[in-house]
């Protein structure tokens, strides 16, 4: 009976969500000379307040769809708000002719676009990164229970 009880406790413990971080990679094209990026710079790029990289080429920030968990986690990590809570900011930017980052349909779409487009910058799960792109920054998103 005691063994059965211990097995039950072990099994229940094993099924609980693990509070480990979810690694996310901020990527750019493999031929981009930049090798790293600060969080502050990343924030400005995604707010469209830092339009160019160090070489004078325009940044093209990419997002995932609004309901994508990675997009939501990225937004919470970088701006401390959910994407829809930035609507007022983007409405004002739109009034001044500035549009939000381009939205790609999937992480694979982000990888393809970044690989083929100089200045493009996006984010994907770290384990999906391949040789087509370069990692500028790794972020660990807190796991939501």
């Amino acid at each position: 009976m005691r063994i059965a009880y211990l097995l039950l406790i072990t099994a229940l413990t094993a099924w609980q969500p693990v509070d480990a971080g979810e690694p996310l990679a901020v990527i750019t094209s493999a031929n981009n000379p930049l090798s790293n990026l600060s969080l502050d710079a990343l924030k400005l790029i995604y707010l469209r307040k830092k339009p160019m990289d160090d070489e004078g080429n325009r940044w093209i920030p990419l997002n995932l769809p609004l309901d994508n968990p990675l997009r939501r986690g990225f937004s919470l990590f970088l701006f401390a708000v959910l994407p829809e809570e930035q609507d007022d900011y983007w409405n004002i930017q739109y009034f001044n002719g500035i549009t939000p980052p381009k939205v790609m349909a999937s992480e694979e779409a982000v990888l393809r676009f970044v690989a083929m487009t100089h200045g493009a910058i996006g984010y994907v799960h770290k384990q999906k990164v391949d040789s087509r792109v370069k990692v500028l920054l790794t972020i660990t998103l807190p796991t939501t229970k």
């Binding site: 307040k49 160019m52 007022d88 004002i92 002719g97 939205v103 200045g119």
Partner: protein, 343 residues
Amino acid sequence: MRLINTVIFLLAGLFLNPLPAKASNDADNDYQLGSGYSLGETGWRIGGYASTKVELPRQSPWQFEVSDLSLFLTWDNGSRLRFFSELEAGDLLSAGEHQWPSTKNTHFEFERFYIDTLVNNQLSVRLGKFLTPVGQWNLIHAAPLVWTTFRPVATTNLFSTHASGMMLHGSVPIGERQLEYAFYGDDSSDLDPHLSKNPFENAAGARLRYSFDDTLQIGISFANFALKELPTSRHLLTGLDIAWTYKKLELSSEVVYRTSDNTQPANNWQGFIQGVGHISQRWALIGRYEFFEQPNELMGQVGLFGIAYRPLSPVIWKLEYRLGTHNENLAPDGLAASFSILF
């Protein structure tokens, strides 16, 4: 006129340079309300906003207006040049207690028409017609972006809301935050063939705005200008604006002070303070106090109470009542309701 011709010539050149081919098939290009429609991969985007309002002043007849239909045309192909224009059809349709629905007051105007050249991350050069950077309200005055149908007197009365010429603008890091700046020179009388209401004759000015954190921004504005008016007078304007948010409360205030060398009154104060309380995700209550010195009158004061409903971020319904003293000329008592949408 020369400026407009130059800009049109540049635009013709832009049309001949489509975007370089990119892997864009995976992009989510569906139209979304409030962000305009992208014309493929050309870099062109078209959008705008519309608003309609009913005003019931206490001592004059009611009036209905399709008050604004503004079309934005932007071009940005990823190079260092960006183009933006806003063509406004004002008073598109109006009706009133003694007036059948009519389009007789309809007028068209380029509210903005400029090219930005990105020099670097800290500096852009703007050439054309743009909103005068005095205070924050004037820079975001579109009906879907503000909480009230009535515009505060201080955001429009003492200066021209538009300028034509050159502006150097951008932001520089100060500490951990960005200081936004704008320095401009205006020569509307020579450059703008479609003069806006109360236009500058010429002007020079600057604006600085610092974000202390994500909840507090403070801006200061300066302008030295002559308006197209008689008698001709030189004015010096100083402005201060503050925006602060705390949880579900927004507070904002703008004050302008103008001195003039040949206009009465020679010194003129105007300002407002506004509070917005978000009572739910979609509903907000608005309260505002305004004061404004004015020619040949005691200082006007008004209070405004309103409610706003935003079913979607680019859509807003507003209802408000304004009441004051010595306010008949600039901000009369009355009720207003409006509907506005960014598209």
